[in-house]
Symmetry: C2
Subunit: 150 residues, 2 copies
DNA sequence: TGGAATAATGATAACCGTTATCAATATGGC
DNA sequence: GCCATATTGATAACGGTTATCATTATTCCA
């Protein structure tokens, strides 16, 4: 689920949300964006931090978390939290919605979308009188690679 | 996702998994089962602890967590972790699989199943060469009650 | 039935991902 | 350059969960 930051509730003087919100530019946020857009998707904060340190050796983990919140807030990045409870991040904005197949053996992520499933979710929600704002579908199992290894 | 406890890896002398596994009977585990089977579903550990204390005033939170792990391990209870990261528990065993509609306003849970969605998930997984072991579908939005209040 | 073996328990420390705090630093408009 | 303030890094705090360990409860069998 994408963390939506409520702009209205921000205290004056607190950090701006992102470049697109009139905030100042910073090399750290740029580094985080570069890591996300160049590396493989579905990285967690620690992995992003390590990758960012190769570009900016002194960057702290708190700054990475702040940048991620920032970038999620303005839609450049999307966050999702799989069953292990550790948030993963992937570039968003130009990328379309998708669900995830997650391998229980190697932990890899495969992106997938079934338009019919998406439609049926709307139907299911409507049947129960719900107005959908978002959904989360994760399928756990063995990826093709790990299936062979058994 | 149900936490599966690997019996083969248990060290000798460590607590047995559950009554059904040859473990000793205990009033605390019984109390936790009673709370789960009598109360509303989708309670978290803290809520279960409070309810259990009304039956057994001295019961500790650690025992509740142990009992829940126990009961999940032998299939009497199922655990799922929604987007807030806090595990919820509901009686399982006799109950069939279902997905959840979760209200973003009041936090209530509605259980729902669409057989077609279930089938299409299998198809989607097969299309990507996955062997499904489990899945998680959560739909977030406004419940009928909260929709009216806007 | 009384112990011995050991499983279960409660208190609490530890853990881990994440967020808050705060003094120091970087940025941008003038 | 100067000032206002946004950003930063170090680190403490947080919240849910798990590990530790001494004490207590349960089971089994002599
Ligand atoms: Mn993805
Ligand atoms: Mn349920
Ligand atoms: Zn795999
Ligand atoms: Zn509601």
């Amino acid at each position: 689920m994408i963390t939506v930051i409520n702009m209205a509730k921000r205290k004056p003087g607190s950090p701006k949300i992102c470049d697109c919100q009139g905030a100042r530019k910073s090399r750290r946020r740029e580094a985080v964006v570069e890591v996300l857009s160049s590396g493989p998707g579905h990285l967690n904060a620690e992995q992003i931090h390590k990758a960012a340190q190769k570009r900016l050796p002194g960057i702290g983990i708190a700054t990475v978390y702040r940048a991620l919140k920032c970038l999620c807030g303005c839609g450049k990045v999307s966050e999702f939290i799989p069953a292990d409870g550790v948030a993963r991040y992937e570039p968003a904005g130009s990328r379309a919605h998708h669900d995830h197949l997650i391998c229980t053996a190697c932990g890899c992520f495969t992106e997938a979308v079934d338009p019919e499933i998406e439609r049926l979710q709307e139907r299911l929600a409507a049947k129960h009188g719900y107005k959908i704002s978002s959904h989360r579908l994760e399928i756990y199992g063995l990826c093709p690679c790990c299936s062979k290894k058994v």
